[in-house]
């Protein structure tokens, strides 16, 4: 089914986010991107973990999974493995992705599964009342914070072997929508770190300095996004400005092109294989 209206991608559930939460705009952008990409709700699975941002699955009119904290990516990969024809989107918070889920990113991104990961980065654990997340880093005050380098989400995503890495911002819906479209279109593992500020808990990702909250668009004409080193370099520039746009893209075999079979979904047609296998088990 093709839907022409972003509103039709919304379930009837009212959003439960605080007014002003960046995630509200991310949801809007997603509905627009789904519309423009002509994605079929019945053929889409939106997989999240736990956190404020992970509530997004309740609000998008598609199949969805709202799993334990930090496990969204591997659950999504399971969905995709079982049915490669589905559009599988992973979404959730910076805590989900870079704290509890960090290992899965390292494990799975470089296998280049055909998934799109939307990470809503608010520099904190919103749901548990705003503790600094890995992307908050040094700037984060509070008794529980430790003086250390902040995690650089874009650099990490590039280093994991993801084949499409972008940064967006809930403040720049137009670009964000476009980035989502591109990510959905990309064959392989695409990830967008989305600056999506928390409206109430007073923390920020370190990549969004409080004195320069506005983001700067990357100029695709001058940034060689196919060059991994250049992308890393751009991601590590520290000039107090938040860059949004596509940092890196690469064409590489996807996980499914590596698995040399397609799952037969109708099952039970493998009696012949089974008899053959059992023949091999005769003493």
């Amino acid at each position: 089914m093709i839907i022409n209206e972003p509103a039709a991608y919304r379930t009837e559930r009212p959003v439960t986010w605080c007014p002003g939460c960046g995630d509200v705009r991310v949801l809007e952008a997603l509905c627009h991107a789904l519309t423009r990409s002509g994605v079929d709700p019945a053929g889409t699975v939106l997989v999240t973990g736990s956190g404020c941002s992970s509530m997004i699955g309740f609000f998008v009119n598609s199949y969805a999974i709202h799993g334990p904290y930090g496990r969204a990516l591997p659950i999504a990969l399971g969905v995709k493995l079982a049915n490669p024809s589905l559009t599988v989107i992973v979404a959730g918070g910076d805590g989900d992705a870079y704290a509890a889920g960090a290992g899965h990113l390292i494990h799975l991104a470089r296998k280049n599964p055909d998934l799109t990961y939307l990470i809503m980065d608010n520099g904190c654990y919103g749901l548990t009342k705003g503790q600094p997340s890995p992307t908050a880093g040094n700037g984060a005050a509070g008794a529980t914070a430790v003086d250390h380098e902040a995690l650089n989400p874009v650099a990490l995503l590039i280093a994991t072997g993801a084949t499409f890495v972008a940064q967006g911002s809930s403040d720049d819906s137009e670009l964000l929508t476009r980035l989502m479209q591109e990510a959905l279109h990309h064959r392989g593992f695409s990830a967008i770190n989305i600056i999506s500020p928390c409206a109430v808990l007073g923390r920020q990702p370190s990549t969004r300095p409080p004195d320069a909250p506005e983001s700067v668009r990357i100029d695709p004409a001058t940034h060689p996004s196919h060059d991994r080193m250049a992308a890393l370099q751009l991601a590590t520039v520290r000039d107090g400005r938040t860059r949004v746009g596509v940092f890196y893209r690469e064409e590489r075999n996807t996980l499914h092109s590596g698995l040399d079979v397609t799952l037969k979904r109708d099952g039970y047609d493998d009696l012949i294989s089974l008899e053959r296998i059992m023949n091999g088990m005769k003493p």
Partner: protein, 575 residues
């Protein structure tokens, strides 16, 4: 009364042990012997043990052969082939009177006891052959001679088993075998009564290990996705499925940790595929959160736990039945799950199929318990008849006018389940408490209702399964209850009880959680004293039985890392 006088050993039932050290080809020769013997239509149960150390160490292959189905690994050795000194010493105490001992005469072995000894100059012969590693085949030749095993089928299996290593290896091995045979013929005078029993001829058996059987069962059930993280002793399920499932249209994927493999399986199941993962205790620990999620979100998934000695890293290659608590009760909250336990290789096929059926039917995680010894044990089973395999799918969501309620309250607690791709079936599977539509709720009534729904499903499980097998007199003094591989030892002990006329009975449950309360109570009512036999410290099944029935069982429990033997049940005097 001394043990062996109480019962008459079955002369046609032979237990053969080949012992030595890693690198001596113990497994190879054992495997060849097993296959040859099984081809003659005899039943075979082969068991191999290796030290958990990385290199070398003791190696043992044990083969039990009988014209009748074999119930357990057995407990008295009829034939010992010792390729080094330790191979003799560490097995000396288990020898039956009249045991045949074939050994390398280069060993410093003091012949003693009631065994019958056949020293063989394996060192010399293998030296003459220019192949010091061929002692195993020389011993096989002597053994074939002494037991009157036909040589041709053995030569054939040697050829087939070693084909991958090239023609010259095959040739050398056949030659060594022939030398052993010739030595036996010319220089050994048979002084023992053992002979290989006569088999039924080609009888359509399969010879496979417990872990291979789990793989086979999964495929028969329609498993389509098997993600796994290697862990001893579960790894070989993945090895086997890697070889076979992709060719049949499924997918096997190795993940970088065990949590991930459970997550993949659950995701795959959501997408409509039957999915399984396999692990051992440490992996089960880290999967608890995801198992709880599957229970809450009502997603079918099968998790095989091949138990090893615990806790923690424990004894990675050793037998134990100590994960029942964590399988049944290990998740936080009231976490619904079903647990079944396989007793033998045949069960590994059948119960794995059953596990998928239960998972799909009740939309719940199902844990299949196996154990290290069963995982490795190679056993003959009747070839499964694919035409008679019962496969259950999940209750489908039929398109309708009204909007879809994924967690609709129904009489039996089972709600129709849509599959991604199906228009109108869109829903969210969530780990937070939810209403019928899947929306989050924390209202008291909702939580109560939904908890009841999840447990109502489980309350029907026992009735939906075939009756639990019972053995023995209709009324008996003692009634044994056991689970997993220990059931084999109990079955064999039962045979001996019958011989000495002791009126015993036994119950063999496969479903352990929810506990088959009715079957247990009925059984207990038919005996004077119930005794639970299991291989763990806490008496885990006994505790669950006490917790959920009126039965106050006694307990025989061993936790040595070695499977409980029939004798350890039969030989007890403290019933």
């Amino acid at each position: 009364m001394p043990p062996f006088l109480q019962t008459v050993p079955d002369r046609a039932d032979l237990l053969i042990r080949i012992a030595g050290e890693g690198g001596q080809g113990i497994m190879t020769v054992g495997e060849i012997l097993s296959r040859a013997v099984a081809r003659s239509g005899l039943h075979v149960l082969a068991d191999s043990t290796f030290a958990s150390d990385i290199k070398g160490g003791d190696a043992l292959f044990q083969l039990r052969v009988s014209p009748h189905p074999i119930l357990s690994q057995g407990d008295r050795v009829d034939i010992l082939v010792a390729l080094n000194e330790n191979g003799y010493r560490s097995n000396e105490t288990g020898l039956a009177p009249g045991c045949m001992v074939i050994y390398d005469d280069g060993m410093a072995l003091k012949e003693s006891g009631e065994a019958i000894f056949y020293p063989v100059p394996m060192g010399r012969i293998s030296g003459e052959l220019g192949s010091p590693v061929s002692k195993n085949m020389i011993a096989l030749g002597v053994l074939a001679r002494l037991l009157s095993i036909s040589a041709d089928p053995l030569r054939q299996v040697i050829g087939q088993s070693l084909a991958a290593k090239g023609a010259s290896v095959v040739q050398m091995n056949v030659k060594a075998f022939d030398e052993g045979l010739a030595y036996g013929q010319d220089h050994v005078v048979k002084r023992d009564p053992h002979l290989l029993p006569v088999g039924a001829g080609e009888n359509n058996q399969l010879l496979l290990s417990g872990n291979e059987a789990i793989g086979l069962g999964a495929m028969m059930a329609g498993c389509r996705v098997y993600p796994y993280c290697p862990i001893t002793p579960a790894t070989t399920i993945g090895d086997w499925l890697s070889d076979h499932l992709p060719g049949a249209g499924g997918q096997v994927i190795m993940t970088d940790d065990a949590i991930e493999s459970a997550a993949l399986a659950i995701g795959a199941s959501y997408a409509g595929a039957k999915a399984m993962t396999g692990t051992s205790g440490p992996g089960l620990d880290v999967m608890q959160e995801l198992i709880g999620f599957a229970g809450m979100a009502e997603l079918p998934v099968v998790i095989v736990d091949v138990q090893r000695g615990g806790p923690s890293q424990g004894l990675a290659t050793k037998h134990e039945q100590s994960d029942l608590f964590s399988a049944a009760l290990g998740g936080h909250g009231d976490s619904p799950r079903i647990v079944v336990a396989a007793a033998d290789v045949n069960d590994c096929v059948g119960l794995t199929i059953e596990a998928f059926n239960l998972a799909e039917r009740y939309q719940v995680p199902v844990i299949v318990l196996s154990d290290a010894s069963l995982s490795r044990r190679r056993q003959t089973i009747p070839r499964p008849d694919l035409a008679h395999v019962r496969r259950v799918g999940r209750t489908p969501h039929e398109p309708s006018e009204s909007s879809y309620l994924r967690y609709r309250l129904t009489a039996d607690g089972i709600s129709p389940m849509s599959v991604p791709g199906q228009p109108g079936g869109e829903y969210i599977a969530t780990g937070v408490e939810h209403t019928e539509s899947g929306s989050p709720t924390d209202l008291p009534r909702d939580h109560e209702t939904m908890t009841k729904k999840r447990y109502k499903k489980l309350s029907a499980v026992e009735e939906g399964l075939p009756p639990v097998e019972r053995e023995g007199a209709a009324r008996a003094e003692i009634g044994f209850i056991s689970w997993g591989t220990t059931q084999g030892a109990v079955r064999e002990a039962m045979q001996r009880f019958r011989q000495i006329g002791l009126p015993a009975a036994a119950l063999y449950p496969k479903l352990l959680w929810p506990l088959p309360v009715k079957a247990l109570e009925t059984f207990a009512a038919s005996v004077n004293k119930v005794i639970v036999v299991e291989a763990n410290k806490q008496g885990q099944l006994a505790m669950l039985i006490r917790a959920q029935t009126k039965i106050r069982p006694g307990l025989i429990h061993l936790y040595t890392g070695v499977p409980i033997s029939p004798w350890e049940i039969f030989g007890r005097e403290d019933f």
